[in-house]
């Protein structure tokens, strides 16, 4: 098995799904499954103009790396990428990518789902809404069900 490190990025720019998928699968033929989750900014029934994503630089990367290593310890993964954007993001644009590669599909699905549940509750990012009517909206409230989703992996 090739050795690998999780690929963790916090960035303003968007990302390309095909390119990220190639990055974990190229020059090898032991990967049988790649699950890529992309989270998008929704317009919330055409009310949202944009989300402003604030983050805790340094801790964000550190926490994403801890979550990635936790996943690598739980499942036989062959590659792992987490990209989280910050700054202003408009509806229809991607916010986050989690990509898990494995020999078989089950570990890739479970690791990607686990990573998203943990990212939601442990990665220091906060979303503020800017509304289409020009007003500054609220900070998005954390969801109870995100906590319970994360707790199910304990």
């Amino acid at each position: 098995m090739k050795s690998w490190n999780p690929d963790i990025r916090v960035q303003r720019e968007s990302f390309d799904l095909s390119e990220e998928s190639r990055r974990v699968t190229s020059d090898r033929a032991d990967v049988g499954a790649v699950v890529a989750f992309t989270g998008y900014c929704r317009d919330e029934g055409e009310t949202l103009a944009a989300l402003e994503l604030e983050h805790y630089s340094g801790m964000a990367e550190g926490e994403m790396l801890r979550i990635a290593r936790e996943a690598a310890g739980r499942w036989p993964l062959l590659g792992l990428t987490i990209i989280h954007r910050h700054g202003r993001i408009v509806p229809g644009e991607p916010i986050v990518l989690v990509l898990a590669a494995s020999a078989h599909r089950q570990p890739a699905f479970e690791a990607a789902s686990f990573l998203m549940d943990y990212l939601k509750t442990r990665a220091p990012f906060w979303k503020k809404e800017h509304l289409r009517d020009g007003s500054e909206g609220d900070w998005v409230a954390a969801k109870e069900k995100d906590d319970s989703a994360a707790n199910k992996w304990r």
């Binding site: 805790y56 550190g62 509750t121 954390a142």
Partner: protein, 83 residues
């Protein structure tokens, strides 16, 4: 030590970070929250519901009963909404 604030905690406090000297008697994260809440109306609003506030010591999540010890940086923020 450096204290950092994020999201609506930052907005209510009125700034993103500051340097403070830990007062005598302030040893845990909860102690510091109580101390900060007494500073002015902005801080009081930020920390009015201490149980919803999350804290990180040197960029790692901690519970409120954690001792601050020799940490260089502490951060306070609302529950996270990334992903």
């Amino acid at each position: 030590m450096k204290v950092r604030y994020f999201a609506w905690v930052r907005e209510r406090v009125g700034h993103a970070e500051e340097e403070i000297d830990l007062p005598v008697g302030v040893t845990s994260v909860a102690d510091l929250i109580q101390h900060l809440a007494a500073k002015d109306e902005g801080y009081a609003a930020a920390f009015s519901e201490p149980t919803v506030i999350r804290a990180a010591l040197d960029q790692e999540h901690v519970e409120h009963d954690m001792a601050i010890g020799g940490a260089r940086e502490i951060a306070f923020f609302p529950p996270m909404t990334g992903g």
